[in-house]
């Protein structure tokens, strides 16, 4: 059981961080909101399970890329809301460009003919 979760976290680690940072670019959000946003924006393709999401949030918080505030929700509940920090914004840019490089590189490998004809 445990093994399964840990494997998944490893698999998603780099990309999940990117997705979370990107989601928070649109404004502060709580954990559940982040998971729903990722699901919605991916057209229901990406399901982030809680066992990956919360460790990632806490790790990003520790790295000071995101910060957390406690707010009171409409039904008088304390809610932990995450927001992007300045360092997080920088990190997001870095990770985005890295992701784009990787994605270009992978599609280059997958479609060698296309690249040649484009050039």
């Amino acid at each position: 059981m445990n093994e399964r979760y840990r494997n998944r976290i490893e698999l998603l680690q780099g990309t999940l961080d990117l997705l979370i940072l990107q989601t928070l670019l649109w404004g502060p959000q709580h954990g559940f909101g982040i998971s729903r946003a990722i699901r919605a924006n991916s057209g229901d393709l990406l399901q982030v399970d809680a066992g990956s999401l919360y460790p990632a949030l806490h790790r990003l918080e520790k790295q000071k890329w995101i910060a957390a505030d406690w707010k009171i929700s409409e039904n008088k509940q304390e809610v932990k809301v995450y927001r992007l920090t300045a360092a997080g914004r920088k990190q997001l840019m870095k990770e985005r460009s890295r992701w784009e490089q990787i994605s270009d590189a992978i599609s280059g490998v997958l479609n060698p003919g296309k690249k040649e004809s484009a050039s």
Partner: protein
């Protein structure tokens, strides 16, 4: 505290965060039209294992392992407190096992690992010579020691020591005064105390001028113990004269309490090395450049490495070798400690390994006992373990938890045992030493714990905890959840066959180890009995011995010969005395002489022990001369006649007529000495080593005046020993009241031989007793456990008509299988290693059939008894109750 508060706050926050997530998810489902309870359940299902999510999230916080450890410890303490009986038994077993091991290690540490008890001892190096090739060396002490000229060479030409000191340890001298008093002291170079960094408590230590001329400086430094004891803390002793070996010495200093020299045997006085000829009259070691007699210690210059020392000194060694063609010298350089000489190491290391192995075996039994206890308890804990696993604990996490518990157990037991060892072992050692005969010197051992002992205790404790905990932990954590939660714990935890196999393996180990220790004790005991009843090859009953050492008593060769001659004459006239003889070495005494001899037709010299004996020796001691003749009264003048023992003749000249054969002794410088011719062959006798009659041995004719300075007078008598002893003492007193008389029955000499083996026997019997007790508990525990586990099975069997004796037989049969297998392994193991004891068996075979028959039978009976008690419970099973209860 702050950290803890911080953590519990984060813990609450995480809880809130997750609850919020679940609520939102449920709300989402409700909005889509699900009913409230279904929505909540769905949200939970989607979320997954809440406990696990929390755990992996907490993992990102860092310091996780510390928190885990704290939790495990807290949990472990709780579990241990819930089972006080189990906990106490386990802690006691471990305390016992670890305690005796830490104790024996602290003794070994005091013997050979501790640095010398002087300031900044880590700078002190001991230097020893190891000779190779053509060695022809006079030895007084150990061969690795130095001659005086060699010492001076190293002292004056090295570049690595701030000072290099030499000492002749174990010098016996007689302290004069109203009562003669034998002392153990040392001769030292005059920089000895400066090199050691030791100052006198009163007066001064030596200065260079004290060693300026040979035999001129009668000064002495004495120990605090001698000052307090013999001189009753005389405050004006410094400056006064005391008499050592009939020579006045001026006391120049008293050392502080606790300084006993640089050898394990405490020194009472120190005299300049240049006084050697005065304190050992008639022998000149100072002038003999080929004599090994000085131990050498140096204080290394700051910043100089061991390699540099080795390189620097080996230049000197090579230069000295030039004057000894065919000989190469290498140097053994080590941090100075007791028993540091190569010869001593070669004895101490095997002895220490045997002792440590024996003690380690007891710890092994204790460990496997605790292991099987843990294993048995594991089946009682299967539901708890299953629950923890279902809640998301990983197997590694469970193993860690279980290991924490076992290490906690071993830490408690180890601490208890170590504390007990620290507290008691000095006393135990005292007790053991007080059981040694008086002729054994007392050792100045420091068994107090130091960092080495503490490190050993810690390492042993941790290792113990892991060793006995690992197997049960791995077993326990690999259970089948379904089976465990359903309730049939036994099968779930251990997969029945496997579990029984492990428990049986533990019992077999215990029995095997116990068998080895019991057999060792049995063999030693038999050896001791053998030593009491052995026929030494000579007539021990009705023989009295007395030793005269006239050397320190104002005697010269001719007056000594006159004294002993008159004494022998008058003793021979005592009623009941049939023979009086004189010998250099008394039978089975601690005196022994030996040399290398050349035999015609052999290129290699042979080592042969010898004795100088008067003509009456053979009839007095009761050794018949089988061929040729005995000694005549004038044989000593010519000195060429020798008598060899039968086995010596057989080994030197197999199948030939030994009479008339010749030997040559080897003289200093490789020259051949005088030739000796065999005139007689005496029967083999164990006069040198008890239990060994086939050592190479020969007799020289005694009688020259020099022989009487130190000699044994042997008296064969019929009638009462006490009358004889009184008569002998009276005669000696009337001849010279100053001479101390020490009359002994021959049988008393056996005591010197038996004392070490008696101690070894007592020690191994105590160890074997502990091992037996632990193994007994192990067998008992195993049988009662398996009986309690198979109550239902037994019940069914009895319901089907089996009678009690059949059930009993079956239970016993099952219980005895691992016992017999373990026992056989133990017997085989003992047979393979029992030769290490042969030096203490006095000629008894190391595979003595009596010991190898009775010890296993004894152990088997004990094991049957240990199984019988719990097995009887099996026969009392009421089938109705048994079938209903599980």
């Amino acid at each position: 505290m702050k950290l803890w508060w911080h953590r519990s706050k984060r813990e609450k926050e995480l809880e809130k965060e997750i609850q919020h997530h679940l609520q939102m998810a449920a709300k989402e489902r409700e909005e889509r039209g699900a009913a409230a309870p279904e929505a909540a359940a769905g949200a939970r299902r989607e979320f997954g294992n809440v406990g696990l999510v929390k755990e992996v999230t907490r993992d990102t916080w860092g310091w996780r392992w510390l928190e885990n450890l704290y939790e495990d410890l807290r949990y472990g303490v709780r579990v241990l407190r819930q089972n006080p009986g189990f906990t106490a038994a386990a802690i006691l077993a471990i305390a016992l096992g670890v305690g005796i091991n830490v104790g024996i290690f602290s003794v070994l540490n005091g013997l050979a690992l501790r640095l010398l008890p002087v300031p900044r001892a880590e700078q002190l190096l001991s230097v020893d010579q190891v000779f190779h090739g053509d060695i022809n060396r006079n030895v007084h002490g150990e061969q690795s020691m130095f001659s005086y000229s060699e010492y001076l060479d190293y002292r004056d030409h090295n570049h690595v020591f701030t000072g290099l000191a030499a000492t002749e340890p174990f010098l016996e001298a007689t302290l004069g005064g109203p009562q003669l008093h034998p002392l153990m002291g040392a001769l030292t170079s005059c920089n000895y105390f400066d090199v050691l960094n030791e100052r006198a408590a009163q007066g001064r230590t030596f200065v260079d001028t004290d060693c300026a001329a040979s035999g001129q400086n009668n000064v002495v430094v004495i120990s605090d113990e001698l000052w307090r004891g013999t001189f009753a803390t005389d405050p004006s002793l410094v400056g006064k004269q005391i008499i050592l070996d009939q020579t006045p010495f001026t006391v120049i200093g008293v050392m502080p309490a606790g300084f006993t020299g640089t050898e394990p045997v405490a020194s009472a006085f120190w005299a300049p090395v240049t006084m050697q000829k005065t304190l050992d009259a008639g022998r000149d070691r100072l002038g003999d450049s080929n004599m090994s007699w000085l131990a050498v210690l140096g204080r290394v210059r700051p910043g100089v490495t061991l390699e540099q020392v080795r390189a620097d000194l080996s230049v000197i060694a090579a230069r000295i070798d030039e004057s000894h063609p065919g000989r190469q010298t290498t140097l053994a350089i080590a941090r100075a400690a007791f028993f540091g000489r190569p010869e001593e190491h070669s004895f101490l290391i095997p002895a220490a390994s045997i002792v440590l192995a024996a003690f380690g075996l007891v710890l092994l039994i204790a460990c496997s006992n605790v292991s099987s206890l843990l294993l048995a308890r594991a089946s009682a804990r299967h539901k708890e373990i299953a629950l923890r696993q279902a809640m998301g604990a990983s197997r590694w996490r469970l193993v860690r938890q279980l290991l924490t518990e076992s290490v906690l157990l071993s830490a408690l037991g180890g601490t208890l045992g170590s504390l007990f060892a620290f507290w008691s072992f000095a006393g135990v050692l005292q007790l053991v030493m007080s059981k040694l005969p008086k002729s054994f010197p007392t050792l100045a051992l420091n068994v107090a714990p130091d960092f080495r002992v503490l490190g050993f205790a810690l390492a042993l404790t941790l290792m113990t905890g892991i060793v006995f905990g690992l197997v049960p932990a791995l077993r326990t954590s690999s259970l089948d959840l379904n089976l465990a939660l359903k309730g049939d714990g036994t099968r779930a935890v251990l997969g029945k066959r496997n579990g029984r196999f492990l428990r049986n393996a533990f019992v077999a180990t215990q029995v095997a180890v116990c068998m080895i220790l019991l057999l060792a004790a049995g063999l030693l005991l038999r050896g001791l009995y053998h030593a009491q009843t052995v026929n030494p090859g000579f007539e021990m009953k009705g023989l009295a011995t007395t030793y005269f050492n006239l050397r320190g008593l104002n005697y010269d060769e001719s007056s000594a010969a006159a004294f002993v001659g008159r004494l022998r004459q008058r003793v021979a006239a005592l009623p009941g005395v049939t023979e009086v003889a004189q010998a250099e070495c008394g039978p089975l005494s601690s005196d022994r002489s030996g040399d290398r001899f050349f035999v015609a037709g052999r290129s290699e010299p042979v080592d042969i022990e010898y004795n100088h004996v008067s003509p009456e020796y053979f009839s007095a001691v009761g050794i018949p001369v089988m061929r040729g003749r005995g000694f005549g009264p004038n044989d000593w003048k010519d000195g060429s006649a020798i008598i060899v023992t039968e086995s010596t003749a057989r080994r030197l000249w197999p199948g030939q007529e030994p009479l008339g054969k010749t030997l040559r002794s080897r003289m200093t410088g490789g020259l051949l000495g005088p030739e000796y011719a065999v005139v007689g062959v005496a029967r083999d006798a164990q006069v040198s080593h008890l239990g060994e009659s086939d050592t190479m041995y020969l007799y020289f004719p005694g009688g020259s005046p020099g022989d009487s300075l130190r000699s044994y007078v042997l008296v064969r008598f019929s009638g009462s020993y006490s009358d004889l002893a009184a008569g002998l003492r009276g005669i000696a007193q009337s001849l010279d009241a100053e001479v101390p008389v020490d009359v002994k029955k021959m049988e008393d000499n056996l005591e010197i031989w038996r004392a070490p083996s008696r101690i070894a026997t007592a020690l191994s019997a105590a160890l074997a007793g502990l091992a037996l007790l632990l193994a007994l508990i192990g067998v008992y525990g195993m049988v009662s456990y398996s009986v309690s586990r198979s109550v239902r099975e037994i019940g069914i069997r009895m319901a089907l008509g089996a009678n009690t004796s059949e059930v009993m037989r079956q239970v016993l049969q099952q219980a005895m299988r691992p016992v017999v297998i373990g026992g056989l392994i133990g017997v085989a193991g003992s047979a393979a290693v029992s030769w290490v004891l042969s030096s203490m068996l006095f000629g008894l075979s190391a595979h003595d059939p009596v010991a190898f028959l009775f010890v296993p039978i004894f152990l088997l009976i004990v094991a049957v008894l240990a199984s019988y008690v719990p097995a009887r419970r099996a026969t009392r099973v009421d089938p109705v109750v048994a079938l209903r209860c599980e």
